[in-house]
């Protein structure tokens, strides 16, 4: 699988660009992954990414969309706690694109 050199660090990603080792993640790696996704990271993007990592740390899976929208509503205001806003931040879908930037494995299934 491809090894990436970025910001003086090297890390491995899989064929779809997901980080292979969770422990390799840092903000520099996230910046690289976001750039690959053509996502410009704002404070709101970081709030989502940080929540995903926190949740993953506790439950070993990314949060369900409902759980995520509720958390976003708490942190960024009720008008932003919805699927539409998350798609504005992460156009390819919050579950997959935001997880990728957060360095989490790709959620797969019938989703």
């Amino acid at each position: 699988m491809p090894m990436i050199e970025h910001g003086g660090k090297s890390f491995e990603v899989d064929e779809e660009g997901y980080l292979v080792n969770l422990a390799d993640w840092d903000e520099n790696v996230a910046a690289y992954l976001a750039q690959e996704e053509k996502v410009e990271m704002s404070q709101s993007h970081w709030e989502v990414v940080n929540f995903l990592r926190e949740y993953y740390g506790e439950y070993q899976i990314a949060p369900a969309i409902r759980v995520l929208t509720k958390a976003v509503a708490k942190k960024l205001g009720p008008d932003k706690g919805n699927n539409k806003y998350l798609y504005e931040l992460f156009p390819y879908g919050p579950a997959k694109q935001a997880c990728k930037i957060a360095g989490l494995p790709k959620p797969t299934g019938c989703i």
Binding site: A64, I65, V67, G93, A95, P107, T108, G109, I111
Partner: protein, 510 residues
């Protein structure tokens, strides 16, 4: 992820999809990611081609031909009449002639003739028999992952050849030589290790369900519960794990919970069997399908439930309806001690298993559920028959119940319903384009092109009747359409579940 580089097919002016002029090799570049070592090893398959791959492939093909007489009949019976050629959504959407079912099957049939028929052994050039080469194997990998096992072609085949079975055999042989598909095989690992296709561990499931209970109460003022692992509950609900995780799937889960609440039912979900789906079917491996199905029997025995109800999942219902009794003794037929125990435990007054639509429709007919249909007035609804439900199972006691019952539910909870063109629904329904183990990002081109016939039919009712909601009873259909309708100019919020409509209109009491 970079924007996909392919041309999205153009919608036609009618509900029908014109048969395209063939474009040889237009989809030959399609190659789903190959499964790496870990999932292959877990499933007991190699993960790379060994020197003896050809012998292994022929050997496995021989075993399958011996085990499934149907496969041998399907290999022998085709007369190349061409009735199937324009019936496949992938051919209609991609124009690649190898996606005509007859041509896709021919990839295996020519090898079958060479190694398993006398004329093919002695005079292969006379009967179109060919050696199995690496090039053919690669074509198998490509094109057996460009079939969603939807069986539409089989409806039109005068011999009733089941293309899906040939695809399944192709995938099993590919797995056997070390060319598994990453998407399906990782899922088959997760469902066995964690309990569901998503890999949602028990604590995450519990947290998610608690959150949903809060949401429903905030929304309705009624404390509707989502019980988990309740010993002695009457009903076990098994549903696709996407129902816990994704939009719009979760809206249907909320719908089931409201129905159970309104009926005063004692019910539970199981963390051990937190998945109805069974990708063992897609892979054509009976043992895997059985292992995955056994989780549900184990959970039912452990919890002591009297009924098993299956949520909105197309292939799960086919496995439950058509295979569970012989796979696991749920229903009728199993005569091992556990099956006998299971039969004593399950309530014989009810269908075992029962589809959630049968459950809800039964309650509607008995007058147990009350609705305010006007709450769905912002929607004009059509219903997409899921392939595995339409062509692989039934609901209710009447022929065609799998077509009428979901529609009856919709009409009971909403005022505006219009069917799509007759040739595109019911038994002739088109696949969503993402079924049978191809619902993965690395096959997005295939998924978008394969959705064309359904999109044409939907577009016609959207234009003529103002339809703005595509109602579904399958997790794969929901995920697939949510992803692909925007390619055709529709908003993803037009996609949802039948029980999402139930959820909108149902009247609840404390």
């Amino acid at each position: 992820m970079a924007a996909p580089k392919f041309e999205v097919p153009k919608l036609s002016d009618t509900a029908y999809t014109d048969v395209p002029k063939i474009q040889e090799g237009s989809m030959s570049h399609i190659k789903s990611f190959i499964a790496p070592q870990a999932p292959q090893e877990f499933l007991g398959y190699p993960w790379e081609l060994a020197d003896d791959w050809k012998e292994r492939a022929i050997d496995r093909m021989g075993q399958l031909l011996g085990k499934y007489r149907s496969l041998r009949v399907f290999m022998d019976a085709c007369v190349h009449c061409g009735a199937c050629t324009d019936k496949c959504h992938y051919y209609l959407g991609s124009a690649d002639p190898k996606n005509m079912p007859v041509a896709r099957q021919e990839l295996m049939r020519k090898v079958y003739r060479r190694y398993f028929t006398l004329p093919g052994k002695i005079a292969p050039w006379l009967v179109g028999a060919e050696d199995l080469t690496k090039d053919t194997l690669d074509q198998w990998y490509s094109y057996y992952h460009q079939c969603s096992e939807c069986r539409r072609c089989s409806v039109f085949c005068p011999y009733g050849i089941d293309t899906a079975e040939i695809t399944m055999a192709g995938r099993e042989i590919l797995n056997h030589v070390g060319m598994g598909q990453k998407y399906s095989n990782e899922i088959l690992g997760k469902v066995q290790k964690i309990g569901n296709n998503l890999g949602l561990p028990g604590p995450a499931l519990e947290d998610t369900l608690l959150g949903l209970e809060e949401d429903i109460e905030a929304d309705t003022g009624v404390a509707v519960k989502m019980p988990l692992d309740v010993q002695g509950a009457e009903i076990l609900l098994v549903t696709p794990s996407a129902d816990f995780f994704s939009e719009p799937h979760v809206e249907s889960l909320i719908g089931y919970a409201k129905v159970f609440h309104a009926a005063g039912a004692s019910w539970t979900l199981s963390s051990h069997a937190s998945e109805a789906g069974n990708f063992g079917l897609f892979n054509g491996n009976y043992e895997t399908m059985r292992t995955v199905a056994m989780r549900i029997r184990d959970a039912a025995l452990e919890l002591g439930v009297k009924r098993i109800v299956v949520g909105e999942c197309g292939h799960a219902w086919r496995v439950a309806y058509a295979f569970w009794n012989t796979l696991t003794g749920i229903g009728y037929g199993g005569n091992d001690p556990f099956s006998i125990e299971m039969q004593k435990q399950l309530d014989p007054r009810y269908k075992q298993p029962m589809h959630i639509c049968e459950y809800t429709w039964d309650l509607i007919q008995k007058g147990v559920l009350k609705f305010d249909k006007s709450l769905n007035d912002h929607r004009t609804i059509t219903f997409h028959d899921s392939c595995n439900v339409a062509r692989g199972s039934r609901m209710g006691d009447e022929p065609g119940g799998q077509f009428t019952i979901p529609r009856n539910i919709i009409k009971a909870v909403a005022n505006n319903f219009h069917d799509m063109a007759a040739e595109t629904i019911g038994e002739s329904t088109f696949c969503c384009g993402g079924g049978g183990g191809v619902l993965t990002d690395d096959l997005i081109e295939l998924r978008v092109k394969g959705a064309l016939p359904r999109m044409n039919a939907y577009n016609a009712v959207a234009k003529e009747e103002g339809v703005n909601f595509l109602a579904l009873i399958c997790a794969i259909c929901k995920a697939q359409f949510t992803k692909v309708v925007p390619f055709y100019g529709f908003d993803m919020s037009q996609v949802g579940g039948v029980h999402q409509l139930v959820s909108t209109a149902i009247k609840l009491e404390d």
